[in-house]
Symmetry: C2
Subunit: 116 residues, 2 copies
């Protein structure tokens, strides 16, 4: 068994043309012996956003803190702490922080793609 | 895509000899088209606990709210909001609420076993 608090893991910061104000961490993955899926946590600064992209694996997302919007197929949907979002494979998506505080969410993916 | 807030899902209550004060919900599963793994959320009342059991699939757990203890191989480990726990297959485990408020955690499993 492994137990870790996310604040004890060094974050990887993402900043660029398509992504702003995102810090990511792998909480549970291949290094823990997890055989099937990977738990990552992302923090998004106010005004920040993830890339608008698609890929051939799904996301299972849970909003831990804050509020934001999920962009999907041309529309934007509000989410808040306690919201769960299933993004099917090959569908363009993006998450934005629309609140005043940090938006913190889990995003789980199947094993195989890059973990972060 | 599906978006749901956990509070909008009817919970299934568990109470018995081996489990106390637990309410479970499937947030993302087969009905959503999730192909690989299942996101469930559990609320544990103060003093409540999950069964002390083992099974041949893993858990990936994230504490959303509250504080508790994970029992694993004869020892008890404290956890709190923001903790992630990987429980390998075939290892006996249990979660207890050791705080004054509700303990709320995600527990993800691979597709295949009963979702709840």
């Amino acid at each position: 068994m492994n137990i870790v608090h996310y604040s004890d893991i060094d974050g990887k910061h993402f900043e660029g043309d398509s992504v702003q104000g995102i810090t990511g961490r792998v909480l549970i993955g291949e290094d823990d012996g997890a055989p099937n899926f990977v738990m990552r946590l992302f923090e998004v600064e106010p005004g920040g956003y993830s890339p608008q992209h698609s890929h051939d694996w799904e996301h299972e997302i849970f909003i831990h803190q804050g509020e934001g919007a999920v962009f999907f197929e041309g529309k934007s949907y509000p989410v808040r702490a306690g919201s769960a979002i299933f993004v099917p494979p090959n569908k363009e998506h993006q998450i934005r922080n629309t609140g005043d505080g940090t938006l913190t969410f889990l995003c789980l993916i199947p094993a195989g793609p890059p973990e972060l």
